[in-house]
């Protein structure tokens, strides 16, 4: 399933090499602290690009610069044939933005929220009147049109924010942690909608803390840590490049130093985090055999995923604000 999507995405990319949005050498410091260091990447039409990284990695600052809300100390942002911040108004007319925090108008119903937001784009009333029912349907909010945001669940609010971001029929959507705080049902519905949008040819730039979300939605990933890009590529390629194919997690009893030394040769890499030991290996047959000697040990064997990659690249220690 994922593989098919990736092929599709690469064909789309091959057809249209012109980037929608491009940033080069972005730099930003706050009070002498460099929070974004020479960040460069681009988003192509029809692509879903994910920006991942621990708290304080510079994701939101980078996004704010792309949206013209902050000016970079250095670097260039070009999009839709213009340049930030000089052409901010033109660029923003092609963008749809869902910020991390809810900015819906509490005094307005869902329909009014969409209507008022559409006016900010200078859209005529007739256009808005015809677009709003379609957008409410897309957001699965058709029956909630007259309700105010307070009456909506977290998932509904986020979908209303997404519908609002689509009011100007943007080419590029910028989503800052679109599913943070949602329950699994709401997350899956959001993912489904975002995939639909990509299939319709929209491009998406999103930040996320959820590696399953990044793996599922994104064609390419930018991994940020301490303000720098430390990896860039498709999830599959990044995993293949940086990780062994298999992971065996062992927990349930504390494995001592001598046991670890005995088991180490069976795996390419061994990591201990709390009581759990992670074995990374390309071939795990011998390792699984050896682990059978420890009856009380509980074992999970799975393919390496993006979370492993993320932890390998950015480390297991907690970050500020975590």
């Amino acid at each position: 399933m994922l593989g098919a999507e990736h092929t599709e995405a690469s064909t789309r990319l091959a057809r249209t090499p012109q980037a929608l949005l491009k940033c080069e050498g972005l730099e930003k410091s706050f009070a002498g602290k460099r929070v974004v260091k020479s960040v460069s990447f681009e988003i192509y039409p029809g692509e879903c690009l994910g920006v991942i990284g621990p708290n304080g990695a510079g994701k939101t600052t980078t996004l704010k610069m792309l949206l013209g809300l902050l000016s970079p100390d250095q670097g260039l942002i070009t999009a839709f044939g213009g340049q930030m911040p000089g052409d901010a108004l033109m660029i923003k007319s092609h963008l749809g933005v869902v910020s991390q925090f809810d900015t819906l108008d509490p005094d307005f119903s869902c329909v009014e929220n969409l209507l008022v937001f559409g006016r900010y784009f200078g859209l005529p009333k007739e256009t808005l009147k015809s677009r709003i029912p379609t957008l409410l349907e897309f957001a699965a909010l058709t029956n909630k049109g007259q309700d105010k945001p307070q009456a909506l669940s977290g998932g509904m609010k986020r979908r209303l924010s997404l519908a609002r971001a689509l009011i100007n029929d943007p080419q590029l959507l910028v989503l800052d942690e679109p599913t943070t705080g949602l329950d699994p049902q709401a997350r899956h519905l959001m993912w489904e909608r975002l995939q639909q949008l990509v299939q319709r040819g929209k491009s998406i730039l999103l930040t996320t803390h959820f590696m399953d979300e990044a793996e599922r939605l994104c064609d390419r990933l930018v991994v940020l840590d301490q303000g720098e890009i430390i990896a860039l590529g498709s999830p599959k390629a990044l995993i293949a490049e940086h990780l062994e194919a298999h992971v065996v997690e062992a927990y349930g009893m504390a494995l001592g130093e001598s046991e670890l030394q005995r088991l180490h040769p069976y795996a390419e890499r061994v990591e201990k985090s709390g009581e759990t030991v992670f074995f990374y290996a390309n071939d795990v047959t011998a390792l699984l055999q050896a682990l059978q000697d420890y009856a009380r040990l509980r074992i999970v064997h799975r393919p390496a995923n993006l979370e492993d990659l993320f932890l390998k690249l950015t480390g297991r220690q907690m970050r500020e604000g975590s």
């Binding site: 949206l67 901010a88 108004l89 925090f101 900015t103 108008d105 784009f121 609002r164």
Partner: protein
């Protein structure tokens, strides 16, 4: 250029939902004030000597009261309500994701706060007309003076909005700036009652400038030095708006 308009209309749409109940307050409050100060205090004071003749205290205080109302209404909106939209509800953050600039929002909020003040002033005018207080008044000219005043007080309040970390901050603005100004500007008594040194300072207070032009118009007289007062009002407005805009831009660029 017209990008401020949809932001202004957004506020208008919210207000329209609550306009009727708020109109009641706009009518009830001046009635109480004028009853207490005009009929109550007025019956003790009788007539007041103004530079252009003696007037009943009720008319005198009514003209001061309406200027004070314009000031308070504009200030309340440009402080508490604007701060809610800017910081608490994050309405501005949402708007900034559309092709609208921060300076458009600040302009819209200034004009909106002025509009709201003018609405409540108009309601008070209505009450006063029913009370028969507008007999001699140059109503339209007087109304225009209050429009300028409302814009000025909105612009000044937006400076403090840009500096605020929370609603508590605005209490200082009211108790340290607006309340003293209310007593020094000649709302309740002529400024001539103040010691001379205080008069020379007080005459430059924003509310004094407004009252100096508004009161004669309200009483059906011709204001003295109206040109200079109006010029000062426009000047204060321009400076306050420029400062408010600068501080607001700084607030948004640093976060």
């Amino acid at each position: 250029m017209m990008r401020f308009w949809p932001v202004f209309m957004r506020n208008f749409l919210v207000w329209r939902k609550l306009a009727i109940p708020s109109l009641l307050g706009n009518i009830a409050e001046p009635l109480m004030w004028l009853a207490a100060f005009g009929y109550g205090l007025g019956s003790l004071v009788g007539h007041i000597q103004t530079p252009t003749g003696a007037v009943p205290y009720l008319n005198f205080v009514a003209s001061g009261y309406i200027c004070m109302s314009a000031m308070n209404a504009a200030s309340f909106e440009a402080l508490y309500s604007v701060f809610s939209r800017m910081s608490v509800q994050r309405t501005w953050d949402g708007i900034l994701n559309a092709p609208i600039l921060l300076k458009d929002i600040v302009l819209a909020e200034m004009l909106w706060a002025a509009f709201k003040a003018i609405f409540s002033v108009s309601a008070i005018f209505g009450v006063m007309a029913l009370m028969g207080l507008l007999g001699q008044a140059h109503v339209l000219l007087a109304w225009c003076v209050l429009l300028l005043a409302a814009v000025m007080f909105s612009a000044i309040a937006l400076i403090f909005n840009a500096l605020a970390q929370g609603y508590d901050f605005f209490t200082y603005y009211f108790t340290l700036f607006l309340t003293p100004m209310m007593f020094l500007s000649g709302v309740f008594f002529p400024r001539q009652q103040l010691p001379p040194w205080m008069q020379s300072v007080a005459q430059w207070l924003p509310l004094s400038l407004v009252i100096d032009v508004f009161r004669p118009l309200f009483l059906g007289q011709r204001p003295e030095r109206a040109g200079w007062s109006l010029l000062a009002i426009v000047g204060y407005t321009a400076v306050a708006y420029a400062v408010a805009l600068r501080l607001t831009l700084r607030r948004f660029k640093s976060g």
